[in-house]
C-alpha cells in the first residue's frame, strides 16, 4: 500500500468545500488542509478542478447474491460500486435465502472483507424469510452485525406485525425499514394511477398508497416508541407526513433514490420496462416535492436503490416485467445534476451521499477527517460521460438513464487507502 498526497484539490469536508491537500498514510487520512506539503516517498496525485469526497455510502442496494447470481454477484457489484465512487453498501436481506440468520449476516460482511474494495453492511430480515409472518431474531441478528431490519422490497403489511416489529426492535435500539406502499392498494399495480396509466391501459397504484402506509407506521412508531425508516419515499404527501412527525419528535428517518428525483412517470411511455420501478415513478409534482424535501433536510439520505435485473427480467410486457434499476454507477452523477440545476448545493448533495447515510448506519465512514480510514472518491464535477446500457461496470445493465450524458466523472476511488478504481 502506497502513501499518497492528493494535492491542491477541493476537499469535501463536513464544514464545507475547502481548497487544500489530503495525505494518506497506512490506509488512513494522516492530514488534510491548505498546503500540507509532500513528505518524501509519497506519491502525488493531482487533478485540476476535481473534488475529493469521502467514499460514498449507499444505504440500500440488492446485490443479487445469494440466489440471483445471474443478475449480479458480490464481485460484479463491487466493480460497479468502485466505478461509482461507492465504498460502503448496506445490503438488503430479501435475497434467496433471505438474510434471517446470524450466520448469513456474518457471511455478507465477510464477503465484503474478502473483496476488499467495498464494505458490505448487512440488513437483517424483519420477518423470517422476509415472508411477512413471524418476527426475525433481531437481538441475535444485530449481535452478528445486522444494521437494521427490513423485508426489502416487500411491505410489512400487517399492522399488528408492524407494531410488534417496532416494539420488539426498540429493545435493541434497532430500526425497522419499511417499503412504504399499502400492500392491498399496490397489489397487481404496474404504474402510478392517473391519466398516463389510464391511457396505457396499465393497472395503477394510487400515489396515496404511500402516504397511507407512512401515516399508519408513523402512528405505530409513536405508539411503540420504536424507530422507523421509510425507504425510497416518492411523494410529496409522504414527505409532508414525515416532516410533521420529525417536528413532533417521532423516531423517523427516510431516504429516496435518483430515479424519483430525476425522472417522472412519463419515462414509462412506449412501455419502457427499464423505467418500471417499485414504487413506480410518480407525477412531476411529486418529483418536485422530493427535491424540496431533499433540500430542506426531510430526506436523510440518497440511496442507489440498486436492483440488478437481466434482459429476460425486463423484456416482457410491462405489467409482467420486473421492477427496479441498476443504480451504483450513476448514483453520484445523477445526484450532481441537481447541483447543476441549483436545487441542492454541492455540500448538501455530498452530505446526502456520505456523511448522513454513514451516521444513519452508525458506522465510522463518510467524513474526511484526520485519523479516519481513507475511503475516498475523487471526481470532476464538470467532466461528462455517457450512460450506455451494455457498457456499465458490473453485471447489471438495467439502467433507466441509458443514453444520458451526465456531468460528474469519477477519477479515482480508494478503499482504506488502496486504489480500487481509476
Amino acid at each position: 500500500m502506497t502513501d499518497f498526497l492528493v494535492g491542491d484539490v477541493t476537499l469535501a469536508t463536513p464544514e464545507g468545500l475547502l481548497r487544500g491537500d489530503l495525505l494518506v498514510r497506512d490506509g488512513r487520512i494522516a492530514g488534510l488542509g491548505p498546503t500540507l506539503g509532500r513528505p518524501d516517498g509519497v506519491e502525488l496525485i493531482t487533478a485540476e478542478g476535481a473534488i475529493l469526497a469521502p467514499g460514498l455510502v449507499d444505504i440500500r442496494a440488492s446485490l443479487g447474491e445469494p440466489g440471483y447470481e445471474y443478475r449480479e454477484t458480490f464481485a460484479s457489484a463491487a466493480r460497479a460500486a468502485a466505478a461509482g465512487g461507492i465504498t460502503t453498501i448496506a445490503v438488503l436481506p430479501d435475497s434467496q435465502p433471505a438474510i434471517d440468520d446470524p450466520a448469513l449476516v456474518r457471511l455478507i460482511a465477510a464477503r465484503g472483507e474478502e473483496l476488499g474494495s467495498v464494505t458490505l453492511v448487512p440488513y437483517g430480515a424483519a420477518t423470517r424469510g422476509c415472508a411477512g409472518a413471524e418476527l426475525a431474531e433481531y437481538g441475535l441478528l444485530k449481535a452478528a452485525g445486522a444494521v437494521a431490519f427490513t423485508d426489502g422490497r416487500r411491505t410489512i403489511a400487517s399492522s399488528r406485525l408492524m407494531r410488534r416489529a417496532l416494539s420488539y426492535a426498540s429493545a435493541f435500539s434497532a430500526r425497522i425499514v419499511q417499503h412504504p406502499e399499502d400492500a392491498e392498494l399496490a397489489e397487481g399495480g404496474a404504474a402510478t394511477e392517473g391519466a398516463r396509466a389510464t391511457i396505457m391501459g396499465l393497472p395503477g397504484i394510487p400515489a396515496a398508497a404511500e402516504a397511507i402506509c407512512v401515516a399508519r407506521d408513523l402512528r405505530l412508531a409513536e405508539l411503540t416508541g420504536g424507530a422507523i425508516h421509510f425507504a425510497h419515499v416518492t411523494t410529496g404527501e409522504a414527505c409532508a407526513l414525515i416532516r410533521q412527525a420529525k417536528d413532533r419528535g417521532v423516531h423517523v428517518t427516510c431516504d429516496t433514490a435518483p430515479p424519483y428525483f430525476d425522472l417522472n412517470e412519463t419515462a414509462i411511455g412506449d412501455f419502457r420496462t427499464y423505467a418500471k420501478f417499485s414504487p413506480p415513478l410518480r407525477a412531476e409534482a411529486d418529483r418536485q416535492a422530493i427535491l424540496a424535501a431533499l433540500a430542506d433536510g426531510t430526506i436523510d439520505a440518497i440511496a442507489s436503490d440498486h436492483q440488478p435485473r437481466d434482459a429476460d427480467d425486463k423484456r416482457l410486457p410491462f405489467a409482467e416485467a420486473s421492477a427496479g434499476g441498476a443504480g451504483l454507477a450513476t448514483l453520484l452523477a445523477v445526484t450532481l445534476a441537481q447541483v447543476k440545476a441549483e436545487t441542492l448545493t454541492m455540500h448538501q448533495a455530498l452530505a446526502l451521499l456520505t456523511e448522513k447515510p454513514a451516521k444513519w448506519l452508525g458506522i465510522d465512514a463518510g467524513v474526511l477527517r484526520r485519523g479516519a480510514v481513507a475511503d475516498l472518491c475523487l471526481f470532476h464535477p464538470e467532466k461528462s460521460w455517457l450512460v450506455e446500457a451494455g457498457k456499465l461496470p458490473g453485471k447489471a445493465q438495467n439502467t433507466p438513464f441509458d443514453g444520458r450524458a451526465l456531468e460528474g466523472k469519477i477519477l479515482g476511488t480508494w478503499k482504506a487507502g488502496r486504489r480500487v478504481f481509476g
Binding site: T198, G201, L202, G204, F271, D312, P317, F318, A319
Partner: protein
C-alpha cells in the same frame, strides 16, 4: 418505425383516419358485390397470432386477408402464466424466420404488441392488448357511425359500462375525440379509469344524464374475468338495473340514437335483447360487416405502405 405498424389509435391523425375509412368504404361495396381483390396481397403472409381467445376478431382478420389474396395462418398460443414472456419473444424469433409480412396480435397484456413490434420484421397490427387499445375496433365503429349518420364529427357519443377494463373504450374515445365528437363515458366510479376525465371526455355516473341527447349509445361488455377479488360491482342484476341498456334508458337518448356493442354481448347484463336486436336502432350486425372492410383497408395500407408514408 411506428409507421410500419398499427399499434393504437394514439399515433394516428384525422387525415389518416379519414383516408382509412374512405378506403374501407370501397371495400364495403366490393364485398357486397361479391368481387374480390385477390391480387393485392398475393404472395404475402398474414399470421393471426392470438394469445387470447377470440372468434369474431380473428375470423374478421382472416377473411380480410383472404379476400385480398394473402396466405393466412392462424396461431393460437396457449398461455401458461409462467411461460408467457418467453413465448412472446421466442415467437417473434420464429416468425422472423418464417418471413411473415403482416402480424395480427392479440394479447392479454397491455403493450405486448409494442414489444413484439420492436423484435419482428413484419408489420404488427394490434388486435387488442390487455386494457390498452383495440384500434381496428375503433375504426370499424367509426365507419359504422359515418355510414349511418353521414359524418364522424360533431356527434355526441355515450360509451357505457365497464370502461376500466375496456381497450375498445380507450381506442374509441381517442379516435372520436380526435375527430371532433363529444364523448361521454358512463358507468359506476369503480369501473372508470383514474383521471380519465382529463383526457378530453366527460364522465357520468348516471345513465339518464350520460345518455341525454346522445346520437350514439355504445354498450360495453362487463368483463367479469378481469375483475379482481371483491368485485367492482355488487352483482350483475344491480349493474343491469342502473347501467344495463334497455328500451327505457335508450329513450333518454335522441329519438334516432343508434345502439352499438363491440361484442360478445352479455344479454341481460349490459344490454337487453330487445334493444340489441332492434332492427331500426341497433347496428351491431353492421359493425361486424364493417370490421372486415376496415381490416382490409388496414392490411392493404400497411402492406403497400401507401397510407403510412406522409
Amino acid at each position: 418505425m411506428t409507421n410500419r405498424h398499427l399499434l393504437g389509435i394514439e399515433g394516428l391523425s384525422p387525415p389518416k383516419i379519414t383516408a382509412l375509412l374512405d378506403l374501407a368504404e370501397n371495400y364495403v361495396l366490393l364485398n357486397r358485390s361479391g368481387k374480390t381483390q385477390r391480387d393485392l396481397l398475393r404472395g404475402r403472409t398474414l399470421i393471426n397470432l392470438f394469445f387470447e381467445d377470440s372468434t369474431r376478431t380473428r375470423t374478421s382478420f382472416e377473411l380480410a386477408g383472404k379476400r385480398l389474396g394473402a396466405d393466412v395462418i392462424n396461431m393460437s398460443v396457449a398461455t401458461s402464466s409462467v411461460s408467457k414472456g418467453e413465448t412472446l419473444l421466442d415467437t417473434a424469433a420464429t416468425l422472423n424466420a418464417m418471413n411473415c409480412d403482416l402480424l395480427v396480435v392479440r394479447h392479454n397484456q397491455s403493450g405486448a404488441p409494442a414489444l413484439l413490434a420492436q423484435k419482428v420484421e413484419a408489420s404488427v397490427i394490434n388486435a387488442g392488448d390487455g386494457t390498452h387499445e383495440h384500434p381496428t375496433q375503433a375504426l370499424l365503429d367509426a365507419l359504422t357511425i359515418r355510414r349511418n349518420k353521414g359524418r364522424i364529427d360533431g356527434l355526441t357519443i355515450a360509451i357505457c359500462g365497464d370502461i376500466l377494463h375496456s381497450r375498445v373504450a380507450r381506442s374509441n374515445f381517442l379516435l372520436l375525440t380526435m375527430m371532433g365528437n363529444q364523448v361521454r363515458l358512463v358507468g359506476p366510479p369503480t369501473l372508470m379509469p383514474a383521471e380519465v376525465g382529463s383526457l378530453g371526455v366527460t364522465v357520468h355516473h348516471d345513465m339518464r344524464e350520460g345518455l341525454a341527447g346522445a346520437d350514439i349509445v355504445m354498450a360495453l361488455r362487463l368483463q367479469k374475468e378481469r375483475m379482481s377479488k371483491g368485485g367492482m360491482v355488487p352483482s350483475a342484476r344491480e349493474f343491469f338495473a342502473f347501467y344495463g341498456l334497455n328500451a327505457e334508458k335508450l329513450a333518454w337518448a335522441k329519438p334516432d340514437a343508434l345502439v352499438m356493442h363491440p361484442g360478445p354481448m352479455n344479454r341481460g347484463v349490459e344490454i337487453d335483447s330487445a334493444v340489441a336486436d332492434d332492427p331500426v336502432r341497433s347496428v351491431i350486425k353492421e359493425q361486424v360487416e364493417m370490421g372486415v372492410a376496415v381490416r382490409m383497408a388496414v392490411l392493404e395500407s400497411l402492406a403497400r405502405g401507401t397510407l403510412w408514408n406522409d
